[in-house]
Amino acid sequence: MCWVCEKYGKGGKWYLNPENYARRLYKIRKEGKEAAGADADPQAAGMGAGVVAELVKARISGDREWENEIKREALEQAYQTHFGQVVTLDEYLQILDTAYPLAKMTCGCRRVQRGMPDEENFTCMGIGPGMYKWERWPETYRGGVEFVTPAEAKEWAMMNHKEGRVQTVDVFGTPYIGGLCQCEYPGCVAVRNRIDYDFKFLLKGHFVAKVDREKCTGCKSCLGRCQFKALNLEVYTSKAYIDLEQCFGCGLCVTACPSGAIQLLERQSMPGLAENW
């Protein structure tokens, strides 16, 4: 169990606890006088990107203490309000049976980092009563939302997984889960900041993917699936190699393997990785 489970899991995984999707939890309010056209920081655009400018400065300066202070303060705030965690496709599908309503949205990260037109960029899933409040914060819902049934949402999630996107849950006012992302490196600001700057706005998932070296045939089907720079081919032995310390447990490599050679194991069952979120 991760620390979020300990606090909000009721004995299980926190994002499978229906209470964390309950309407009475939905209380997030944006500060500021947006009606009048409030100033926004364009450099803070994208998921969890508020301190990137400072982080880059600290990195360049080589001052580790400064960098750690920025992270500590930003994450203390983020874990109370807005952060994410990687989940598997199976878990994602379970959540689609719990959360309501479900609405497809565009990805704000790829809009601001790649300028992708909204009509080509519907990969996020907004969930819960926030979906009825798009007129309050229209910029968040730029491009509109498209309400879907659970069956439609599942089919769409499976398609996204097949295409190679990592699935995550996103908190909007801890522990209220208001969004499900389907993302990639480096288009996703949260994934990018985690990989490039070790900024733990996005937590690793509850699983890790392990290669069965007997079963792996070296077919390379899994190569290119990992969005976390954790997977490559050991050329000399012709086997897939997964860096378990770097693995986020999304399962994208698992479903690409035709030989059943990659297995998802509970992070908690591996003492060396149990604290590695």
Binding site: A40, P42, R111, V112, E139
Partner: protein, 98 residues
Amino acid sequence: MIAQINIDYALCRDPLNCRKCLSVCPSVVFVCGPTKVWKGRESDSREYKIFGRYYDKCSGCGDCVKVCPANAVQLIFVPREQLARKFREERAAQLKER
């Protein structure tokens, strides 16, 4: 060397619709975020502004300079140590104020 990416905002007028530098950059250095948010309507695309947010990842390939139809992007490289010194001074001033 570290890139200093200067955008001439008088020339770069509608970045979210243009998006050429965002699209071409091999290192996803740029971000194009809103400078204003409104209630009841989306921000106008002209209220967006481009920044070289991840300038520490810039390789200096120059594709953004070449692709910009308005000639609004300028790349200057400065020694890492020069920039590091500047940021360390900023940090020292920040700590002094506490």
